[in-house]
């Protein structure tokens, strides 16, 4: 099949457009998603294609926007909320966590909240501490939420379409640095399953588990490690909740070495869960070395470019950490 190369942002837009054509209940709401086309250009021309009712610009009211999506979803619509930066979900945590995540269970099962909440996550744009956080840990810890972090254009489309099929609230954390990256994306309406980790590279020497932008960085590292005679397996978790440990367990049973790479601060971050799962299961017997976590520093994201780079794992960091792990240091 011939390759069709489009960007991550285009893949998301295509998924939304196809979903809107297929289902009149699907609509988008968020700040500056209309004529502006979205702060990161994701909604683009959808406003012109579907009109201001279904690509709905909102006042600056994150709590109200998410609440409106919850209410619309409760009565059968399929809202896609765009929160301009994931940091601003801090304003909507009550609606996301106390309402959307709990309604189906708490109200007895008759009602549910088929809402999709998309938000640009992560650092690297020089926007400093309030516009650069990676907050996936908060959402992954909340029962009733599904959480995905697409790392490629193809997954961005496939996971979003799966999220739209899901009768439960799904949080989609997109990475700002990935929007302009390109890859092959099938034109049809395919689904990438939620709850299935993805082995993106096989390898027998060590297992690298990564999320978001760290997946491509880890793949790059793996390629360079190959040249050094180190054969790394790279697994993209893709869905943080519910978490699929299958491919991770299987790979660790072969490599005996596990390295966990995330952008978010290390302390009580998502990768701690992966380490815990291994250390409480049979996987621990396969380890030949302690697990290595390579995460963001436990500091707010700084503005200065060199500082911003210093606080999250970069390619050289992954390379040296992997070599250390191989050397058993």
């Amino acid at each position: 099949m011939s390759e069709r190369i489009i960007t991550y942002a285009e893949a998301i837009r295509e998924a939304i457009g196809q979903a809107m054509e297929a289902d009149p209940n699907v609509f988008m709401l968020g700040e500056d998603i209309g004529v502006y086309g979205g702060a990161f250009g994701v909604s683009g021309d959808l406003y012109h294609r579907f009109g201001e009712e279904r690509v709905r610009d909102t006042p600056i009211s994150e709590m109200g926007i998410v609440g409106a999506a919850v209410g619309a979803a409760l009565v059968g619509m399929k809202p896609i909320v765009e929160i301009q930066f994931s940091d601003f979900t801090a304003h909507a945590m009550d609606q996301i966590v106390n309402q959307a995540a709990k309604i189906h269970f708490m109200l007895g099962g008759e009602l549910s909240v088929p809402m999709v909440l998309r938000a640009p996550s992560g650092s690297g744009t020089g926007a400093a501490a309030q516009h650069s956080q990676s907050l996936e840990t908060w959402f992954a810890h909340v029962p009733g939420l599904k959480v995905v972090m697409p790392s490629s254009p193809a997954d961005a489309k496939g996971l979003l379409l799966s999220a739209l099929d899901d009768p439960n609230p799904v949080i989609v954390l997109e990475h700002k640095l990935l929007y302009k990256t390109s890859g092959h994306v099938p034109p049809e309406m395919y689904r990438t399953p939620i709850g299935v980790s993805n082995k993106v590279r096989d390898g027998k020497d060590l297992t690298i588990v990564a999320t978001g932008v760290m997946v491509s960085r880890s793949l790059e590292a793996a390629a360079q490690l190959q040249a050094l005679g180190i054969d790394a397996c790279v697994i993209d978790v893709r869905t943080l909740s519910p978490l699929d440990m299958g491919p991770i367990n299987e790979s660790v049973s072969k490599t005996g070495r596990l390295m966990l790479v995330q952008e978010a601060p290390k302390h009580v971050g998502f990768m701690a869960e992966v380490a815990a799962r291994i250390s409480e299961g049979p996987g621990i017997y396969h380890l030949t070395e302690p697990i290595k976590r390579l995460c963001g520093m436990d500091v707010p994201i700084p503005y200065a470019p060199q500082l911003e780079k210093a606080v999250v794992p970069q390619l050289p960091d992954i390379l040296s950490a992997a070599q250390d792990l191989m050397r058993g240091v």
């Binding site: 109200g64 609440g67 409106a68 209410g71 619309a72 009565v75 009550d94 099929d165």
Partner: protein, 336 residues
């Protein structure tokens, strides 16, 4: 299954001028009152756990508003939600079963008093978060507009809720989107222990509608007729595409905020004064004075409603307890 006659609007004029509307309204007032008195007793005798918030003294608000609604209309409710739930037409047995943590309860015993919802009658749920239901009502109304239905949404909330950011954001969205929603504030003078005199400087909460260029009215929340009249106008406006309205219903709760309340923040005199304005008594007297119902008809209705509540308690008590086995499988709705 224990129910009362569904509320209906009067053919014309006031509720208290119309026999059918009056009977249904009286049943609603009494059902709310007796249901909560029963629940109060069950708690006192340790037969119910958790906490609860009673609307005894505020029955006219839910009754007057829901008399202006159709079953296909929606409501969002609050932690003090029994009155809304009953007035919208819920099954008293399933409500009681929920409070008794039974598998047959509206939430299968998972939610309790603060989370009763009833899709069948359009009750999108009580809410344990103050003002939590207001943005949700706005969203449900947005769906009605986008789907071009003629259903409206009513959001009930208290005076204290109007100090939450959620109130402000939701009313602004409803305003700029011109949505079919009616915001009903039950101003019972206190948010838990904090009086409206201290929690806000406006004289009337309805003044806050001006921030959204939305009509705002204040009515006697202990008078079914007054509440209905205001609701009728607002609901008609919403249904016809005229957009949202804020209705403030001034009322009072006779009981404490919740079980743990020692009433240190208000005087016995104040409570006694408001008991003289009891919405149930006021409506009964009016019906008898107007000759719509005789004293003995009122007594018959009273007895009939008491029986329904007794049935509700009996049926609910006999039901099986909430089932722990289902827990993990109930967090998410199955896909597809």
């Amino acid at each position: 299954m224990a129910t009362i006659t569904p509320l209906i609007p009067p053919a014309q004029g006031a509720v208290s001028d119309d026999l059918a509307a009056s009977q249904a309204a009286l049943e609603s007032l009494l059902a709310i009152r007796f249901f909560e008195e029963a629940v109060d007793g069950l708690f006192a005798r340790g037969l119910m756990h958790g906490t609860m918030h009673l609307s005894i003294g505020q029955e006219a608000v839910a009754t007057g508003v829901c008399a202006a609604l159709r079953q296909t209309d929606f409501i969002t409710s609050t932690h003090r939600g029994h009155s809304h739930c009953i007035a919208k037409g819920a099954d008293l047995t399933r409500m009681m079963a929920e409070l008794l943590a039974k598998q047959t309860g509206y939430c299968r015993g998972r939610g309790g008093s603060m989370h009763i919802a009833d899709a069948k009658t359009g009750n999108l749920g009580a809410n344990g978060i103050v003002a939590g239901g207001i943005p949700i009502a706005t969203g449900a109304a947005l769906a009605q507009k986008m789907r071009d239905t003629d259903s409206v949404v009513v959001s009930f909330f208290g005076d204290g809720a109007t100090n939450e950011g959620a109130f402000h954001e939701a009313l602004n969205l409803a305003s700029v989107w011109n949505l079919p929603v009616v915001f009903v504030c039950e101003n019972n003078k206190y948010g838990m222990s904090f009086s409206t005199a201290k929690s806000m400087k406006v004289e009337k909460i309805s003044e806050r509608a001006a921030s959204y260029a939305m009509p705002g009215v204040t009515v006697d929340g202990n008078d079914v007729d007054a509440v209905f009249d205001a609701a009728k106008v607002a609901v008609a406006r919403a249904r016809s595409g005229g957009g949202p309205t804020l209705i403030e219903c001034v009322t009072y709760r006779h009981k404490g905020h919740s079980k743990s309340d020692k009433n240190l923040y208000r005087t016995k005199e104040e409570i006694e004064f408001w008991k003289t304005k009891d919405p149930v008594g006021i409506f009964e007297t009016r019906l008898i004075e107007k000759g719509v119902l005789t004293k003995s008809q009122v007594d018959q209705i009273t007895e009939a409603v008491r029986n329904e509540i007794r049935n509700a308690i009996q049926e609910a008590s006999a039901a099986p307890d909430s089932d722990p086995a289902e827990l993990l499988s109930s967090v998410f709705r199955q896909v597809g």
